[in-house]
């Protein structure tokens, strides 16, 4: 490997419109033919730095030196023309077009005014072959699995001449098996002299394929290290600032006799008529955390929307504490003491333009403590929101600050504070710690366990397998709208086994008697 520097980012500072300092004096140096890890917790600023590099964000300070020349990158188009490609976490592909069409999109070979399809297919096949990607380029993107879509994204970048390839958490949507395959491809790219930036917070993956790692914490660079010279413990210490154990002291379980939530033969189609939840049945008792794992898009969102009353179009039966919810409004369901931490905190979890206080009462402003027949009790609300801010350690100037001005972790704390403060019996937590700092995440996880110990029933959906493993009492895997696997001895499940269920390779058929009586 030669040690030629291809790119330097020096003293980058980036402040977002809401006042969050995402990067504070960060420097990065990339060499030709290396896989360079950007390591850091969610919210540490690695994505921001990459957005600056890819021309999506303009830095407030700092310089970028590409192959010895100071340069500014004004837009993604500009970045691509300079040989920088990026594969986003959420793929930017046109589902109704073929793989070949997606690859050549925007830089298509033309025949007169029209796209020369034969040439396009040939070009796509050539590039796939050159990099040893085994893909049928005639397939439509909507028909191919996630792992292949990611390959298409990589090919798209390579076709545009990317020498530096940014991969934003590429393994987040992949099963362990697909991840292995991706790694083989990445190593081949490295051999060909490409530079790959691998954004991740998974230490074992970085150990496996990266040459060097730049570790970020709190918007600052903690330094660049040779991966082979640094232990995972050391990396995690640099990343988090202290040793965190993901093992929680889980107390002995005390299940209630009552079934808090009973679901039978639940079937849900989405707005497009696609079957998303397929004949699902389970029981949920107080005092347990039911973890639901699965690759995103296998019906988890639809399941949660239906259980919480957001979606009313379903077949089957849902009973909360014995009461059927067919005709219950969301308000009725919330009155049954159900709390819901939504998947997307900005879309449905809060109103960014309203104050912290106004966001804290959306589910309990009708409570006698906070309002009379018509009027809100401002004093009580002010006092309560100050209490909650303190109890949940929300970092803010005051309760009057707009929620949108807070960092992701603090917004999530506001939401969690609101949902938990009603004293719920059932908590549905959908990705409760996604994209937030490690301290806030640990806090929320601890709270969930406390509620479990207090006899609350919890459904936890998470893409973070470590979280699922460390919290769940029972663990189900969702695959294509069904529970494809179910474990009661969560401690003895391996990631590999879970992965096989997530992929649909392994399938437990008989779940009756395990999931419900």
């Amino acid at each position: 490997m030669d040690n030629q520097t291809v790119l330097q980012m020096n003293h980058i500072m980036k402040i977002y419109g809401n006042g969050v300092v995402a990067n504070e004096d960060v420097s990065l140096e990339l060499r030709k033919g290396e896989i360079h890890a950007m390591l850091g917790e969610n919210g540490a600023g690695k994505s921001t730095l990459m957005k600056v590099l890819f021309g999506l964000e303009a830095p407030d300070q700092g310089e970028i030196i590409l192959k010895g020349q100071p340069t500014t990158i004004k837009s993604p188009q500009d970045a691509i023309s300079k040989g920088i490609g990026m594969v986003h976490q959420h793929f930017m592909l046109v589902p109704s077009l073929t793989v070949a069409e997606n690859i050549i999109l925007g830089v298509a070979p033309k025949k007169g005014l029209f796209i020369d399809m034969d040439k396009a297919i040939k070009a796509a096949e050539d590039i796939a072959k050159e990099y040893n990607f085994d893909i049928d380029v005639r397939q439509k993107v909507e028909e191919i699995p996630v792992g292949i879509k990611q390959k298409v994204e990589i090919l798209k970048a390579l076709y545009r001449g990317a020498e530096i390839l940014i991969l934003d958490e590429p393994t987040a949507v992949l099963t362990p098996q697909e991840t292995d395959e991706l790694f083989i491809q990445l190593m081949k790219l490295r051999e060909k002299g490409h530079t790959i930036i691998f954004i991740s917070h998974k230490l074992d993956e970085i150990k496996k394929i990266c040459d060097r790692a730049t570790i970020m914490r709190n918007g600052r660079s903690m330094g660049t290290y040779e991966v082979k010279d640094i232990s995972t413990q050391e990396m995690s210490r640099l990343m988090v600032g202290r040793e965190v154990s993901l093992k929680f002291d889980k107390k002995e379980q005390h299940l209630t006799d009552d079934v808090f939530m009973r679901v039978r033969n639940l079937t849900v189609h989405n707005a497009q008529g696609v079957l998303k939840v397929d004949d699902l049945s389970f029981d949920l008792k107080g005092g347990e955390i039911l973890g639901i794992a699965g690759v995103e898009g296998n019906g988890q969102s639809e399941l949660i929307d239906t259980l919480t009353g957001l979606n009313k179009k379903y077949k089957g039966e849902i009973k909360i504490k014995g009461q059927d919810i067919t005709n219950a409004s969301i308000e009725d369901i919330r009155e049954m003491k159900l709390a819901h931490i939504p998947e997307d905190r900005m879309t449905s979890g809060c109103a960014g333009t309203l104050s912290i206080m106004e966001n804290m009462f959306s589910n309990q402003y009708k409570d006698k403590r906070f309002s009379g027949k018509f009027l809100l009790k401002r004093k009580a609300m002010e006092q309560r929101s100050d209490e909650l801010i303190k109890e949940y350690m929300v970092k803010c100037k005051s309760r009057k600050q707009n929620v949108g001005m807070l960092s992701g972790g603090n917004i999530q704390k506001v939401i969690v504070a609101r949902e938990f403060s009603t004293g719920p019996d059932i908590i549905i937590a959908n990705q409760p710690t996604r994209g937030i700092d490690v301290g806030a995440a640990a806090f929320i996880r601890k709270r969930l366990l406390e509620f479990r110990d207090a006899g609350c029933a919890v459904i936890l959906i998470s893409a973070d397998l470590t979280e699922i493993f460390s919290l769940s009492d029972r663990l189900a895997v969702m695959y294509k709208g069904k529970f494809a696997g179910f474990f009661t001895d969560v401690e003895n499940v391996t990631e590999d086994e879970l992965g096989q269920h997530m992929l649909g390779i392994k399938h437990d058929d008989v779940l009756e008697g395990v999931l419900y009586e």
């Binding site: 006042g19 969301i330 919330r334 449905s348 109103a351 402003y365 009708k366 018509f374 707009n402």
Partner: protein
């Protein structure tokens, strides 16, 4: 005050100043006596009691429709039927005031009916939205003509005074709202308007329903997820907004300015309301100030038009520019980013210290 609010204020002030500056440039281009014109525009309303009265009296309808629009827009319902509600409110008030002649009863009933009919009127686009998902913006825009032509029909066929041209029978004297300041036409409606603005604020910011309305207005998904009924929010906001706008029409009709119903075209207070709402950032409490600004500018303009060779339209241009600049999110965004970056950097230093 947080930096976002501070910035909003700075931007509003800047917009006003820039708009005025542009108007001055235009005045200089079109006028032979530009300095005089500018003088009348800026300090004309201060020159005598009557002109100052004009300012206050023209604030009244603006506060009503402005508050109505604030309530509707707070729920993120871009219902533009405030214009029609105002018109039809005036119409109904005059109908009632023609028939009823008893003291107190006449104005009270006239205003009540004006408000109720205004509420029903703005409810039409709301109901259409709920039942058929028709965009309230389009339907409310079109429905204003319904109010106008219904008014014309009534004027020609029902309440028109055959002895007068394009005017109704005389309204009962008992219905007229009393003048507050002798020598001007500032009437009781001003007190009602201020009360409505304060109540509007109180409703939006202090009541349960107002809270629901604002939550839904800022993020409908969030409101739904919280268990708030969107249908209820749409209906209540539109009914109340329409009531206030209709009431405003009634108050205007019963003011000393009119003694017969003579509106054969839409007066435009519904459109002005959008300016008021934008300037006051959807908070009814600020509508009197926004109304004062607009009324002052217009009174100044009419004095300028009377005394010099500059026409009234100049003020329309000023208004247009103000709105464009206030609503342009990106206007001064670099300056905004600077404020925020500066604050963030200062906060960083604080943490280190």
């Amino acid at each position: 005050m947080n930096s976002a609010k501070k910035f909003d204020m700075v931007r509003t002030v800047f917009s006003v100043l820039i708009a005025l500056a542009i108007s001055f440039v235009i005045i200089f281009m079109v006028s032979d006596q530009p300095l005089e014109a500018i003088k009348y525009l800026l300090i004309g309303p201060f020159t005598n009691k009557r002109s100052m009265g004009n300012v206050v009296e023209s604030m009244i309808p603006l506060i009503f429709t402005g508050t109505g629009v604030c309530i509707m827009f707070s729920a993120n319902q871009i219902n533009l039927a405030g214009e029609g509600a105002f018109h039809i409110g005036g119409l109904i008030a005059s109908c009632v005031a023609i028939k009823l002649t008893a003291t107190f009863v006449s104005p009270f009933m006239a205003l009540l009916c004006a408000g109720l009919v205004g509420a029903l009127f703005t409810a039409i686009p709301a109901i259409m939205k709920i039942t058929t998902t028709a965009s309230e913006m389009v339907s409310s825009l079109m429905i204003n003509y319904l109010a106008l032509y219904f008014g014309n029909y009534m004027l020609n066929n029902v309440i028109g005074d055959p002895k007068a041209s394009a005017a109704s029978y005389k309204l009962a004297d008992a219905a007229e709202l009393p003048v507050l300041i002798p020598g001007t036409r500032v009437h009781l409606g001003f007190i009602i308007a201020i009360a409505v603005a304060v109540l509007g604020y109180f409703f939006l910011y202090r009541t349960k329903t107002g809270y629901e309305l604002r939550l839904a207005g800022e993020n409908e998904e969030f409101a739904k997820y919280s268990g708030i009924s969107i249908v209820k929010v749409i209906m209540i906001s539109q009914l109340l907004g329409g009531f206030v706008a209709g009431l405003g029409g009634g108050v205007e009709m019963l003011s000393p300015i009119y003694n017969r119903f003579t509106w054969t075209s839409l007066l435009g207070y519904g459109w002005d309301a959008i300016i008021i709402c934008t300037l006051s950032k959807k908070n009814p409490l600020y509508t009197p100030f926004a109304a004062l600004f607009l009324a002052y500018l217009r009174t100044g303009a009419s004095i300028m038009a009377r005394r010099t060779d500059v026409t009234l339209e100049i003020v329309q241009i000023t208004q247009g520019i103000i709105i464009l600049l206030v609503v342009a999110e990106q206007f001064l965004s670099k300056y905004k980013h600077k404020i925020i970056a500066k604050e963030a950097k200062a906060a960083l230093k604080d943490e280190e210290a």
